[in-house]
Subunit: 438 residues, 2 copies
């Protein structure tokens, strides 16, 4: 009975979609763009806001033709990257043959040492996205945006960024033969400039702060000068955002097609968390995992905790904050998906919590010391929040728990700059013994 | 006929081995240590030099029981890391269940853009080992050393290092629950200290230069104070070195169980190159790839080119040099495996070549610009040498060629520090157009 209803719904979705489809664009199972607020549908294209209500557009799929077992086999026989999930993504079926950076299928590390330290008995895993080509989860979303840009005939891949995104866009564009143009504040630290510049695309310093950079990018998108330009997280945002679904798919497949009981996800714009929830829901609906409850927890740094603050206050809306934290990759003071995050955390029985910068640094060191994983500050945030939520009894240590590490410690070395030598000795055995090292 | 002869040889090896086997140590197919110079065999243990002739010891295997097709299937069904090759490595059969850093199965990137720039028509691939857990190929060798340390009952994992090895040892020891103690010159740059220190093991600064550090480590190994200590590249070196074989295995499997025609490998001690050759030979003997010729090319930086110099001069011995190059991870002035490298390059019809530091930087940028891969200086050396060898007609562009990138550009940012903004503009469309960016 329940199955039939689902099938009915799927068919209905296809019917609705038929009238709005764009026959010139092949993005596989992606059928249309659908407004998250009012449900209005438009054909697939480089648009991101609903023409009716200005709500955010997201991809509507037609998964109606899939047989669960066939789909599972097809995925398992696919490549060791996100394209194994091509049947569930807005990409053409032959996506794996096109030049792309091919991120994903990163390690799900069974973190037994960390579990012991935190008292987790139900199984603790770290999904380590530092293994991606440019060492952050941004490769997942940029890879999606790139395929959308290709489908729409764009020739320039662009973004504003002060960190991980710049490298991901530069690298993906280089591999795919796109021109890239990345906009950054002109006075960014030299190390970050180098990481973005090495891929050889245009790297434009804007005389102004990060807000000025973003304002300029919005202007450019509306101007003829921006024609043919795909801004990965603006006019390609609906496609880009779907890349985060692959984190959910991989976690479940790597657990043996099983849902985790609890997931701890960092919050910047909140998009990653909402798309992980979307991915888990899809797997349940497609019958690839058992339909059982799971809880999603959001993690922020105290210095930029608008969603955590709203969650604790019981609010449905998120009041913007001025970020002040070492976790720069999460420092979005006015997170677009904040309200959706609140909804998901509450609906699944999860929570949103934050930790201080000091706790972030301690958590980076804790993860490195126990599991040999050197995380970016965002990974310190999720591990730190996991620890805090266990101590406060909100996160159940007897359940299977997955913590996301979305970036690489090599990119935020400053955060642990205080770490150093444990001893200094002369090159003699006597000096070695005196230092108590024997 | 040929097959029978092989089988006969294999049985003989087993017989010889039987008398020297160490029944308390289970390292899978590893049967004994065998002197590379005189062939003298000793039981598996933490020794690295022949008691008869002081030649280097290496692992002798018993592969006689393997059926080619069964072995291939077993490998293909294995985990997405080096342990899929456990039947060919000095590790117990259940190695994948033990806590280890699980490196390997890194991407073999089809580098079509780079191929076009270099004029390679036969297929060009980059084996990108920056995808390993601590972002260098050192994770492969350390993972092996760790298993040997476990088998010998060691409790401390140690090394001397100024770079990649320190991080690999720290991370692997952390995951496996070993104590680690890494020795470095006390005045190393702060960034490198942080990368090694974050894993929380002992990090000991030695008042002296890198030679003093190594001298001290040799002393420690011979002293009771060093009991229970596994120095990954000293007393565990025979096991450690075998990790590089996995590069050969992966390249061939990722090519569809096919030998490449040409491989370009960086030379530090030369061990990696010799073990890649050993791995290819094993695959041929086991029937996993077709027996056909391949050429191995060695790559050095001009500022530390003892093997390249000997190759060009037609010498069999390598005269030590004092290193002076930005390619620090290759800066071994007196490479232990130098003579073996010369032998392999000559036997296979390859060559050894070197490039200037300027060419190294250009090659790092070339690889990043064409393929979106940000390589460590060692990757600049191999790409630069590949370019030079094609231009000089030594490397055949019509053949399938694999170039190794063994490390990550994030660890040697200084090398490309000159890379920066391509334009600086005001946040206006007019300024954008004036800069010629439209």
């Amino acid at each position: 009975m329940r199955k039939m209803r689902r099938k009915g719904l799927a068919s209905m979705a296809v019917q609705t979609v038929a009238s709005t489809s764009n026959p010139t664009v092949d993005l596989g199972p992606a059928a249309a763009l659908s407004c998250r607020e009012c449900g209005h549908q438009v054909p697939l294209g480089p648009v991101f806001a609903c023409e009716e209500c200005f709500g955010p557009l997201e991809i509507a799929y037609d998964f109606s033709a899939y047989d669960t077992e066939e789909l599972r086999k097809r995925i398992e026989a696919g490549p060791a990257n996100i394209w194994r999930y091509a049947p569930l993504l807005p990409v053409p079926a032959d996506v794996a043959d096109k030049p792309n950076i091919n991120p994903g299928w990163t390690k799900l590390v069974k973190a037994d040492n960390l579990a012991r330290e935190l008292g987790v008995t139900g199984g603790l895993y770290v999904k380590d996205d530092s293994g991606n080509p440019t060492h952050s989860f941004k490769d997942r979303v940029v890879a999606q945006a790139l395929e959308a840009a290709r489908a729409f005939g764009f020739t320039t891949l662009s973004c504003s960024s002060t960190g991980n995104l710049a490298g991901a866009v530069g690298a993906a564009a280089a591999r795919a033969g796109f021109r890239s143009c990345v906009f950054i504040p002109h006075d960014l630290e030299q190390g970050k400039v180098v990481m973005a510049a090495v891929y050889g695309g245009e790297l434009v310093g804007i005389q102004g702060n990060y807000d000025d950079v973003n304002r300029f990018c919005s202007e450019l998108i509306g101007d003829p000068a921006g024609e043919g330009w795909g801004f990965v997280n603006v006019n390609l945002r609906p496609y880009y955002a779907e890349g985060s679904k692959t984190l959910a798919y991989e976690i479940c497949e790597q657990l043996g097609w099983r849902l985790p009981d609890q997931i701890v996800v960092p919050i910047a714009s909140g998009s990653q968390l909402t798309k992980i929830d979307k991915g888990l829901q899809e797997l349940i609906k497609l019958g690839l995992v058992e339909d059982k409850p799971y809880k999603i927890f959001g993690a922020q740094a105290e210095g930029c905790s608008p969603v955590s603050t709203a969650f604790k206050a019981g609010h449905d809306v998120v009041r913007p904050q001025k970020p002040n934290t070492i976790a720069k990759s999460l420092a979005i003071g006015n997170p677009a998906d904040g309200p959706y995050v609140l909804d998901i955390a509450r609906r699944t029985g999860g929570a949103v919590e934050d930790v201080t910068d000091e706790q972030v640094v301690d958590a980076i060191k804790l993860l490195a010391r126990t599991e040999g994983i050197f995380a970016e500050t965002a990974g310190g945030v999720t591990v730190g929040v996991t620890k805090k939520l266990i101590e406060s009894g909100v996160l159940d240590p007897s359940l299977t728990t997955v913590v996301l590490n979305t970036g690489d410690g090599l990119k935020t070395l400053d955060a642990v700059a205080g770490t150093g030598l444990t001893a200094t000795i002369r090159p003699t055995l006597d000096s070695f013994r005196e230092a108590g090292l024997a």
